[in-house]
Symmetry: C2
Subunit: 380 residues, 2 copies
């Protein structure tokens, strides 16, 4: 099994790209990563995407993207695991390089959402939950997260305002990222003024959707001794329905995939310099910190309140805005996280740079914790 | 890179399964493959599926299927490449085992279509083509194939009736397969009586959709010296749009992936004992025979007319009914092909058994040849 290195990064800004289709976005990010790596011919392309079938009427995205990248003859396929699609694409890309069967792998996460109506988008997103046992009762994806947040607040005695530090940190960091959707810091007051979307999830507890694509070029590590390395890669599933879990406020798949990735990398949570977690909702940020070993149960919010998630804190999170401020083009997000972590380790994160970043962790979540993909990256 | 063996086969019949959801079908086939292999815990699950997002409102099928198979904590993801989805899932399963990162991989192809309206199904299937440059002009997936068939007939001087042997062979073979949708032989006259669907594609030139799932258990070959081996595995893409190809009646991705698989296996077309090809339409059967090296250009139909595609012929195809008679649950088909090829090599194909089958080839196609996945299997 070969070690894998990341030799190219490409991304588009997350926003409403009225002038770009799903193919244009994927090609822009893919070309960016290939150019960054100085590679013009790849062996395989893995595309992470959640909604192209219904929102873009495209059900063969691997071939579509490879075609428009001029990569005829290569192998290409789309991976789908709801909002964990792009992390899953990365995972397959790593396995492919590690297998020795391919040398140069392009992984792309892409999502084109804003051309569709709110109703279409909401319907597509509920596909992350269980259509037959959850959605049939009328829940949307936001309301499912609201139920989890409410239970968490009840169990650990938090108020809504206690979650503010997640949004405040994300927006402050997003302001430093030219590719972020929202580039303006917010205060605790602004957070508290956010209207309720699905109580207790307010506007500032929910990440915004958007259009965007991010991509990485992967090669065997021995071909790129100076490049960022993948030292941990693991994916795990939990029950799809939250009601089937012994504990609805514990992300067991996040714990399992994190533990596996730590084991592979030979490191512990305290060794990690920054954590790009899946803050689709404030509650998911808290639960991720706990499941991944950065906080005790019920202490994820406390950790944020103590400022430890800020740049310079014990475990900086959402360092370039996270899903909350960079934006959450669902099936692309996992690769934005990985692209940002790579930039941090290369020292290329600009104003958002975390000083001395040596080890970065990313965690991409599908649904309410049903698919969780964890990666650990290391500076060369 | 480790060799891979197939140690379990599971499948449901292809038909309208009014009593089974997409999860029920996948679980039935998955359990079947695991039971056949005597394995109750797997390391990874790859699910091939095309339309679950829109037809079943499920966009996290990997986790869903793993959950209902009781495989909590494993890694699982869905692969999508239109009708080439299941072949792509197999390809990733092989890469995963070959990488040494996992030991026991379950690959499942599943599709649940018949609960939806004809309009919804037709719309979902056009996702295999290019929404922006093909479908926008009003073509359906059938009419695209009709254009290709018409061109082929024009170039090589064939009549519609010349294509009959493909349907006649498929239906004769399907009659011997208990899991086939259609289990009745047809004559040349019946073929010619078929009403036109999209001229010159008649009813008997087009494969029927259906509900179904097929699955295989994969392990490293050194753990199963008696099991069927994968000796070739390759995937390649062509342009998504047919209009972008230099030659619209040549499947270049089929040629490339076949050549690569032959190279890996160290064999030639004449060594293959049976070929489970992607006869979604009669024209695709002819083009596949040509691109994969079994017939000269323009001679695929001739080969069929000479009886060489029958059991006992030079290259038996669709030995258990093919897409035409076994049925074509789109994203599951690639694994039906592989399951059938495995049964043939194990001598477990019942009435459909090809005597002395030692080497089998499968070819699963996404769209009109945009994604083509070829596998070569060998008797232990």
């Amino acid at each position: 099994m070969r070690e894998v290195a990341i030799v190219g990064v490409g991304q588009t800004q997350v926003r409403e790209h009225w002038d770009m289709s799903v193919r244009d976005l994927a090609v822009a990010a893919g070309r960016g990563a290939m150019a960054d790596a100085g590679i013009d011919r790849v062996d395989a392309i893995y595309v992470g995407n959640m909604t192209s079938g219904s929102l873009n009427q495209q059900r063969q995205l691997g071939a579509l993207v490879a075609d428009y990248l001029g990569q005829w003859g290569v192998e290409a396929v789309k991976l789908e695991a709801a909002c964990g699609s792009a992390g899953s694409a990365m995972r397959q890309g790593i396995i492919a390089v590690a297998s020795g069967m391919v040398e140069k792998v392009l992984v792309i996460g892409v999502e084109k959402m804003t051309e569709s109506s709110g109703r279409e988008i909401t319907a597509a997103l509920t596909g992350a939950a269980d259509a037959d046992y959850e959605v049939i009762h009328g829940v949307s994806f936001v309301s499912l997260n609201a139920l989890v947040m409410r239970r968490y607040m009840h169990e650990y005695g938090y108020e809504h305002g206690d979650f503010a530090p997640f949004a405040v940190n994300a927006h402050a960091n997003g302001a430093k990222n030219p590719n972020a959707l929202f580039r303006r810091a917010i205060s605790q007051e602004v957070y508290e003024s956010g209207r309720m979307v699905a109580e207790p999830v307010s506007l500032f507890d929910a990440s915004p959707i958007g259009d965007g694509a991010a991509a990485l070029m992967l090669v065997p590590a021995d071909k790129a001794p100076e490049a960022v390395r993948v030292t941990g890669s693991a994916s795990a599933i939990d029950t799809l329905g939250i009601h089937d879990r012994e504990d609805p406020i514990w992300l067991s798949a996040a714990q399992k995939s994190a533990a596996k990735a730590f084991g592979q990398a030979g490191v512990w949570p305290e060794d990690i310099d920054l954590f790009e977690l899946h803050d689709a909702f404030s509650i998911m940020a808290a639960l991720s910190l706990e499941a991944a070993g950065f906080a005790e149960r019920g202490q994820g919010v406390r950790l944020a309140q103590e400022g430890e998630i800020l740049p310079g804190g014990r475990i900086p999170i959402a360092t370039m805005g996270g899903l909350k401020a960079r934006g959450h083009p669902v099936g692309a997000t996992g690769l934005y996280q990985l692209a940002e972590a790579t930039l941090q380790l290369r020292g290329d994160a600009g104003e958002a740079q975390i000083d001395g970043a040596n080890l970065a962790m990313t965690q991409n979540i599908g649904g309410s914790g049903a698919t969780v993909v964890t990666h650990i990256l290391k500076k060369a």
